[in-house]
């Protein structure tokens, strides 16, 4: 165990020296109070140097942007799930923020054992799907997209019905809209979930599974993100008619800050560069009542000082739902 920790510490140190401690430009307001700050990582659990390099940037950022919790988009654990695996793929890379009692709220990916729900540091309370409300007015729903059965759909309908006028933020592993060539949109899952999202006024949906970053054009008024590059990347896989912004040439994570009816977001690479940022204006309750009318996109991009190569996006558009 000590040998493992020593090796991983050396690995993390080497990663730090390789990229330097870049001063990350924050585009989110980073207000000291009255906002909700959180972060997102997806497809992280490789335990390799790429995960560690990004984790270093991610945990370093906490010093400047103290996110209150972290959402995990699934594939939290590739391969084995022994004690050693949980250490190598989760506890050691994120130790700096775990030590500060920052909670991680996991969702399950196709590489995850459903019994990760028992693991205390994933805060799933023994459930494959769950909801939580970290502050008044904002509610999160973690779904298990690997196994969307009747019981889960009925639970979701019930919880959404009771969620009132809160921000409603969904997160789960399989994207129902995606421009990925390898996986693409999960249209069968979309058939089940989208009607509920529209009926109950879901605002934002975040997924993983695809090993890149993608901000999609709003679909029927709902904002979609894919953040599945915290441990793996798949270059040249993203780009199409859904894409508003994409990044697949490096690893990334996201940070969010909710301030009243505005949600600020920023995607940051393993080189500590901003790859995307903007503000989502929340739809009014009146707008949500008429979901069949697609709402105009309401994302205001925030100009970034860093202009990295954001994508190897393919120029050809794909029709909806085609993998």
């Amino acid at each position: 165990m000590r040998t493992l920790q020593l090796r991983l510490t050396v690995l993390a140190l080497a990663s730090t020296l390789a990229i330097g401690v870049a001063a990350q430009e924050l585009t989110v307001p980073n207000k000291p109070k009255d906002t909700l700050k959180f972060a997102v990582i997806g497809d992280s659990g490789t335990g390799d140097s790429n995960q560690y390099r990004l984790a270093k940037v991610f945990t370093d950022l906490y010093g400047r942007f103290p996110y209150e919790f972290v959402l995990m988009m699934g594939d939290n654990m590739y391969g084995g799930e022994s004690t050693r695996d949980f250490q190598r793929k989760f506890e050691i890379p994120y130790k700096p923020v775990l030590d500060k009692n920052i909670k991680f709220y996991a969702s399950l990916g196709n590489h995850d054992s459903p019994n990760q729900r028992m693991y205390k540091l994933f805060n799933m309370n023994g459930e494959r799907y769950y909801t939580f409300r970290p502050k008044p007015g904002v509610r999160f729903f973690a779904l298990d997209s690997n196994y969307m059965d009747r019981t889960q759909l009925q639970w979701l309908e019930k919880e959404l019905s009771a969620s009132g006028s809160d921000w409603k933020i969904m997160y789960f592993h399989h994207p129902i809209y995606s421009s990925g060539g390898r996986h693409g949109s999960d249209t069968a899952l979309r058939d089940q979930l989208e009607p509920l999202f529209l009926k109950h006024g879901v605002d934002v949906v975040i997924a993983g599974h695809e090993h890149f970053y993608e901000r999609l054009k709003p679909q029927k008024g709902i904002h979609y993100f894919i953040s599945g590059g915290a441990g793996k990347i798949r270059k040249g896989d993203v780009g199409g008619e859904f894409t508003e912004k994409a990044f697949d040439t490096g690893y990334h994570f996201m940070i969010f800050e909710i301030e009243g009816d505005k949600m600020h977001f920023q995607a940051i690479s393993d080189q500590a560069k901003t790859v995307d940022s903007g503000v989502i204006e929340r739809r009014r309750v009146d707008d949500k009542a008429a979901p069949s009318v697609p709402a105009a996109p309401s994302v205001k991009p925030v100009p970034s000082q860093d202009k990295p190569n954001t994508s190897t996006a393919k120029p050809t558009a794909k029709p909806q739902g085609v993998r």
Binding site: S82, N115, Y119, Y147, M148, D149, H174, T187, A188, D191
Partner: protein, 203 residues
């Protein structure tokens, strides 16, 4: 000239009316009613399958209750893995003679193949559903096709498309359908074991 035509027309109307009313009377006669069955041929098989699954769950819950307290309250990876392994052993001891087909009986398998045909071969999302299973499912050789065998931790579990889950009979909590290659598994999440399996389930 017009009178015979009128008489003929009235006669024809009367004959038609009599014939029609005779037909209606005939329809009302249960002896002459063609027998149309409204019974779902799969309903009985589904009920039998559910009963067998429920019996398994009762057995499993008995094994859970017999676990030491420290294995029931688990939160660390070592505790989770130990609880799974201990429970799996208890389940094996409770059903030592379990064999393939105890739950997926031959009749149930035939019924499941019928049920799986629309979402996997006919519906608008059939190709998508098959692709989803294929995309995430392990190859058959990666999974031991043995009742009560542990599901290998390093092998991902297949994603099961909602269309399939909404078609097959609902399962109790912590018992799930999963695929490996073209084969369907009945998987116990709590004990991480294969309860039963059905070969060549995907049409």
């Amino acid at each position: 000239m017009t009178q015979p035509i009128y008489v003929y027309a009235v006669t024809m109307c009367l004959l038609t009316a009599c014939s029609s009313s005779a037909q209606q009377a005939g329809r009302a006669d249960p002896q002459q009613t063609p027998k149309v069955s409204h019974i779902n041929p799969d309903a009985g098989l589904v009920a039998d399958f559910k009963k067998r699954v429920d019996e398994y769950v009762k057995l499993r819950e008995k094994a859970v209750a017999a676990l030491p307290a420290e294995l029931q309250e688990k939160s660390k990876p070592a505790e989770i893995n130990a609880a799974e392994k201990t429970l799996a052993q208890k389940v094996r001891e409770a059903r030592p003679a379990a064999k393939p087909g105890d739950i997926f009986t031959p009749a149930t398998q035939a019924s499941f193949r019928r049920l799986l045909t629309p979402p996997l071969t006919k519906g608008p999302d059939a190709a998508e559903n098959k692709a989803t299973i294929k995309d995430d499912a392990p190859a058959a050789k990666e999974v031991p096709f043995k009742v009560n065998a542990e599901y290998p931790k390093e092998v991902p579990l297949s994603t099961v498309p909602p269309d399939v889950l909404l078609t097959l009979p609902a399962l109790p909590k912590d018992v799930e359908y999963r695929f490996a290659g073209k084969h369907l598994l009945l998987f116990d999440v709590k004990a991480n074991i294969i309860v039963d399996f059905m070969l060549n389930a995907i049409p």
